[in-house]
């Protein structure tokens, strides 16, 4: 795996200048490699990981299990891509098991999400059924624990 990707995965929120230092490259080269990763669709983009429950104007999140009919010559792809294009859809995965697609949806209210499912999603040709589950509480988001307070660094300053 590319050392730059490994460093990105390690987290720690390093800026390009710091990454350049660690990898012993110029900042220009780091930016060039990042651009290449984007071109190759290995790096898709950047999103901050926010604890949206804190926001006053809340975001309602739901996970929808969708069963669809696979198409001759195209399998699940065409319909899955069509569903993915909706702005409300944050993520869309093809899964093994009792349903086909797992769709993560965001909306500004429960009604908006329910409306999306009933008007836009279930009505698509090829969608056999949907099962919508609303998110009640987040404990861990993209690798970040929410309610667990970060402990003070208690390490001794010098140890043999």
């Amino acid at each position: 795996m590319n050392p730059l990707i490994k460093l990105l995965l390690e987290g720690g929120g390093l800026g390009t200048a710091q990454m350049a230092q660690v990898l012993n490259l110029s900042e220009t080269e780091v930016n060039r490699q990042l651009d290449q990763l984007k071109k190759d669709r290995l790096l898709l983009g950047w999103r901050p990981v926010l604890n949206l429950a804190e926001e006053e104007a809340g975001v309602v999140r739901a996970v929808i299990e969708v069963r669809i009919t696979p198409e001759r010559g195209g399998g699940f792809n065409r319909l899955a891509e069509r569903i993915s294009r909706f702005d409300e859809v944050e993520s869309c995965y093809l899964m093994s098991g009792g349903y086909d697609l797992l769709v993560f949806v965001n909306g500004s209210s429960l009604q908006k999400v329910a409306g999306f499912v009933s008007e836009k999603l279930s009505t698509l040709e090829g969608v056999l059924s949907t099962a919508t589950h609303f998110l009640l509480r987040t404990y861990k988001e993209q690798g970040f624990l929410l309610d667990v307070k970060a402990e003070e660094n208690n390490r001794l300053k010098v140890a043999p």
């Binding site: 460093l7 390093l14 660690v22 012993n24 390490r155 001794l156 300053k157 010098v158 140890a159 043999p160």
Partner: protein, 391 residues
């Protein structure tokens, strides 16, 4: 009342740890970036902590066998065989201890008669020399040098050897130098031990943190298992320093002797730490490899920076310590470390805290976050430039 005359003479004469003095200065300061912490910056992986918590919930709070839980000893045998090529009988060739520190202590107490000579390479971990003194042995230090990247050579052993040498203490990879030995060098040490009929005490606590090439355990070489006490633990590879859990493996007669001391002084290692250790051996390998990879990247960065700054530093093949040579600044390692601390608030431990061959060097532990390392390197560079400007 003055109680000092009650204190045993050999303890009175024990020198204060050079690290402790340095620690006392650092502890009084705020906002220091410390490169002086000899432990991983990772917390113990959650699955290990959770296994120990579950053990507590199940009521595992009682004494275990003196030798340690048999399941743990079996797991230790499988682990050591898989990774280092040595097989030990769980029933009587493995002893679970309260850290490698206890294993060392009981090994010395079980093996050293008053006046017995114990060879050890230095610079080395702070406890080796004092431990030998505490058991009334005679410490015979063997120098290691930057020109060999602090590997232990048979030549140095031969030059330091004297009649009456009984034990050879090894720590490869080495704290503080990061030095280690390749197969040829370990074979040479083994030949020397066989020639001089030395018993080897091998502290291999950093063995998983070998970044390039293989780690060769001396006990895996022909003729060596019967004359080696192999010491290892969980502190560095699995980030379990505070759990105080380690083990000694060796011929049954030696383990039995160590067990005699252990049973009276410790009885057994903490059952909770043993449960955590078992989980570490059974499911901790991936986590350990991920940590090792991260240490390697940090090593590459900090060693490159030291050399850029003009503090010549070899690339340590093992451990998480860099050992830069600070003598080019014209200062002693103590003055450099104290000066760096006061002027730039970065702590590195002066090399002489680890033995006289640490003269001119400082130890930097790179088991810390990138932002700390990057900032520390910049501050050390500023300090080195200030010193150069004065010349």
């Amino acid at each position: 009342m003055d109680q000092s005359h009650y204190i045993a003479k050999h303890v009175v004469n024990l020198p204060r740890s050079g690290i402790r003095d340095f620690f006392e200065v650092v502890a009084k300061m705020q906002n220091v970036i410390s490169l002086g912490i000899g432990e991983p910056d990772f917390d113990t992986p959650w699955h290990i902590r959770e296994a120990a918590i579950y053990a507590l919930e199940k009521g595992k709070t009682h004494y275990t066998s003196n030798l340690g839980l048999i399941e743990l000893r079996r797991a230790i045998n499988r682990y050591v065989e898989k990774h280092f090529g040595i097989s030990y009988r769980p029933e009587d060739e493995i002893l679970v201890t309260v850290g490698v520190s206890e294993a060392l202590d009981i090994a010395f107490r079980a093996l050293v008669n008053p006046g017995d000579k114990v060879m050890f390479h230095q610079p080395c971990y702070v406890s080796y020399h004092p431990s030998i003194t505490l058991t009334h042995g005679v410490a015979v230090p063997v120098p290691t040098y930057a020109k060999d990247n602090f590997a232990l050579t048979a030549e140095a052993l031969r030059a330091a050897w004297q009649p009456g040498c009984k034990l050879l203490m090894l720590n490869l990879p080495c704290n503080p130098t990061g030095g280690t030995c390749d197969r040829t060098q370990v074979e040479a040490i083994a030949r020397f031990a066989l020639e001089k009929d030395l018993l080897v005490l091998s502290d291999e606590i950093y063995s998983e943190l070998t970044f390039e090439g293989e780690h060769v355990s001396i006990a895996s070489l022909p003729g060596m298992k019967e004359r080696t006490v192999y010491l290892h633990g969980f502190s560095k590879a699995f980030a379990m320093t505070g759990w105080r859990i380690g083990y000694a493996c060796g011929p049954a007669a030696l383990i039995e002797a160590m067990m005699k001391v252990h049973q009276y002084s410790m009885m057994c290692a903490s059952i909770i730490s043993q449960e955590g250790a078992l989980e570490a051996l059974q499911r901790g390998e991936d986590g350990m490899k991920a940590m090792r990879e991260q240490y390697q990247r940090r090593r590459d960065f900090i060693v490159r920076r030291f050399n850029e700054i003009g503090l010549r530093c070899h690339l340590p093949r093992g451990s998480f310590y860099a050992f830069p040579d600070v003598s080019q600044t014209g200062q002693s390692e103590k003055d450099f470390a104290i000066g760096l601390l006061h002027s730039e608030k970065v702590a590195m431990v002066p090399g002489t805290a680890f033995g006289e061959n640490g003269k001119g060097f400082c130890r930097a532990c790179f088991a810390t976050g990138y932002d700390q390392l990057i900032e520390a390197a910049d501050r050390i560079e500023r300090h080195a430039q200030k010193l150069a400007a004065k010349h």
